[in-house]
Point group: C2
Chain length 435, copies 2
């Protein structure tokens, strides 16, 4: 055995693109009328069912091989951390420089270029929960609506969340149609408006995919909660602020959100993010300690993640001019007020059951400075202060043809060692009126 | 051919129990390690897979026969109204008095007594949406929290709804464990409470099961919306009011609801409810007309349903005394402000997709008088005025051992022609503290 296990023999895989052999995110693609699970290495896909068929995973449990041959990740997610670790270790052997020539030849038969692959959602999502884990986001949104009292009294005690829509989660790259909806009656009017949203926004979020879950009635203690999570992906929780503002009292957001949510096709396993663990966000001097069911020493020490999320916009005009997407903000998940372990512990504290494939998202990831805000509502103060784009255009909200691109990276010594699979969506015109 | 097609030859099926041959609700039960679809006739179950195997459904499309042989109703729901009608007509032939002796003998081999059957949820629910369709409920809850301004300005324009939790929907009869959760800090305290809920409530609701659904981006017009719905079932949206009150701002109810939702195992097809259609609730003189996308003449004329829902309670003491469950309220879905067609049209107005098996519930069904309120929050004015039970006990909220039973019926000429499958759940003690 020779070579470096953290480098790969696959063509181009050691370039600094953030998809090297220490990353290996999971995905799925459609080909020949079915879905196939894969991992990504550089610009190649490794087909897991082919690996099973070729005998390359024979040292793993039969149920893991069976899960790898399926069309979605759900079965694998349900197998738990030991199975995930065994599979990941074996994939590292297959793709690392230490693999011998014969093995490389066998593995090469399971590889195909990613270019042109029809990537699909790799998971069947039973329930989708969206949190509100960024204090900075909550604070700035609160300042818009309640300037005297921006932060509600529950925020620093409760990891606030709500249930989103699972059916309308679409894979990155899917077109996003501007939704119709009701909006507040105009000044002096008594009848609400009904038409295409004029306040369309994005929300840059990180999604956590549940692995093993829990039985109904059995809360997951905070010190075991991280172990429930399989991996992460970038998520854009598209939001129609005019619809949301009119509908959300008293039961929360509904049609302002559920017309579409975009998810990256790539799920980065938590195991690949171990080097990027950071302490839970430091609480300020006046902030309350988390209640005991949300407090674990290990979580406080290393329950955060430093994933830098960048939001870029391309417009019809910028694309026509051949410009790359224009960055409009960047933030890091290290600034979130609540950790994923706290979200899981809270979510299950009443006995609610999480199932393999369920998705928990952070809510908008915003940092302390306004330029780090993860949505237009914050960047434009609810559509009142235009955002200047690099090409001279201005935006209050998203216009038709605008494409939002979320990218994520984990940096070590100035190098993006891991890039989280990107998430994009372009706004299409609203459907014409029916009458 | 002789006999009356609206009477059945099955033993006891013509007794006035509301499960005659004009009803035929669908369900599922587990036996020999798998689930079986069935319809209920009196106190018997007709196994649909056995009917297929016995050639009794040979006149139906192959895909309908296949759907009948599955373990959940989802495939059948997705087949659409023509398939549902064909199956229902054939089941009527098999079970009606017009069936000849040979046919009866064949059908009898597919029947089994319901007693002792392990009834399970007959449907896989992708997304669960809960509405707030009772104006009377919204009004009385509003009076508790905002006495000067009980009804929010959006209520009479927007069929308010929110997404609930699908994973924790359980079949009627499942034990309901009292949840733990955070509650508002006590007067003079700064730290919230965390413990078993002390304000546990039920909500009597009617659930609508989506049949065909719609593609993402394609709203269902209100005049076609009723056709999306396959049938109805009773639902109890258990609610921990103390958890809910502390968490629900600004994103709506979450852990106060998602610890459990009980659903009847019996789905009454809308076709069985045709005789009980009523006009949409009459709007008052000052009430706004529904916006055009929520308005259809046919829906206004016959989009309501007159299903009487009764809530009964049995307690440890009442059961020990041999008492039947004590009725504490009754109401009718005819008093709802919004019809199911309006809920579907609104839900999909932004392009949100509904899938076969998705469940839309009405929210608490309350009538105009306080005695017709469908939850304890209204009956006890948020736990401040005790409810007197028939056995002399009093309740502010549910106690351990209390069992809530929802029953429903459709009455014609004073007779309960159709009884909607009941929905019950008994409160079990909270889990012990973990530390």
């Amino acid at each position: 055995m020779s070579g470096n296990a953290s480098r790969s023999w696959v063509d181009g895989a050691n370039e600094p693109h953030g998809f090297g052999v220490t990353h290996l995110p999971y995905g799925a693609y459609r080909q020949a009328e079915r879905g196939w699970l894969c991992v990504r290495i550089g610009d190649y896909l490794l087909n897991l069912a082919d690996c099973v068929a070729g005998g390359l995973l024979n040292d793993l449990a039969a149920e893991v091989r069976e899960a790898c041959s399926g069309e979605s990740l759900n079965a694998l997610l349900g197998k738990g951390p030991a199975a995930w670790a065994a599979l990941r270790a074996r994939l590292g052997e297959l793709l690392g420089e230490t693999a011998n020539g014969q093995l490389r030849q066998q593995v090469a038969e399971c590889l195909q270029p990613m270019s042109g692959a029809d990537l699909v959602l790799p998971v069947e999502i039973g329930d989708y929960t969206d949190f509100y884990a960024s204090l900075h986001h909550a604070q700035r949104v609160g300042e818009i609506f309640r300037p005297d009292n921006p932060l509600l009294p529950n925020y620093k005690h409760v990891p606030i969340g709500y249930h989103g829509r699972a059916s309308s989660i679409v894979v990155s790259g899917s077109a996003i149609t501007r939704p119709w909806g009701q909006s507040r009656p105009a000044e002096g009017e008594s009848v609400p408006g009904f038409g295409p949203s004029t306040a369309l926004d994005y929300e840059a979020e990180l999604a956590f995919l549940v692995g093993t879950g829990n039985a109904l009635g059995e809360p997951v203690p905070v010190d075991q909660a991280r172990g429930c999570i399989f991996g992460v992906a970038l998520l854009n929780d598209w939001s129609a602020r005019d619809i949301q503002a009119w509908e959300y009292q008293p039961l929360g957001p509904f049609l302002g959100k559920n017309f579409a949510t975009s998810l990256s096709p790539w799920v980065t396993p938590l195991a690949a993010l171990e080097p990027f663990r950071v302490p839970a966000a430091i609480r300020g001097a006046g902030d309350p300690a988390p209640l005991p069911y949300l407090l674990s020493a290990a979580d406080q020490t290393g329950g955060g993640l430093d994933i830098r999320i960048s939001v870029s916009l391309s417009t019809g005009a910028s694309r026509a001019a051949g410009m790359a997407p224009m960055e409009i903000s960047s933030s890091s998940t290290r600034d979130l007020y609540w950790t994923v372990a706290q979200m899981v512990a809270h979510h299950t504290s009443n006995g609610c059951n999480l199932r393999a494939g369920d998705t928990l998202a952070t809510g908008t990831v915003s940092g302390p400075a306004r330029a780090t805000a993860g949505c237009l509502m914050e960047l434009t103060r609810n559509g009142t202060e235009p955002l200047e784009l690099a090409n001279g255009e201005r935006r209050l909200w998203l216009e038709d043809g605008d494409e939002v691109l979320l990218t994520g990276m984990c940096v070590m010594d100035g190098v993006a060692v891991v890039r989280i699979g990107s998430c994009s969506g372009r706004i299409g015109a609203a459907a014409p009126a029916r009458r």
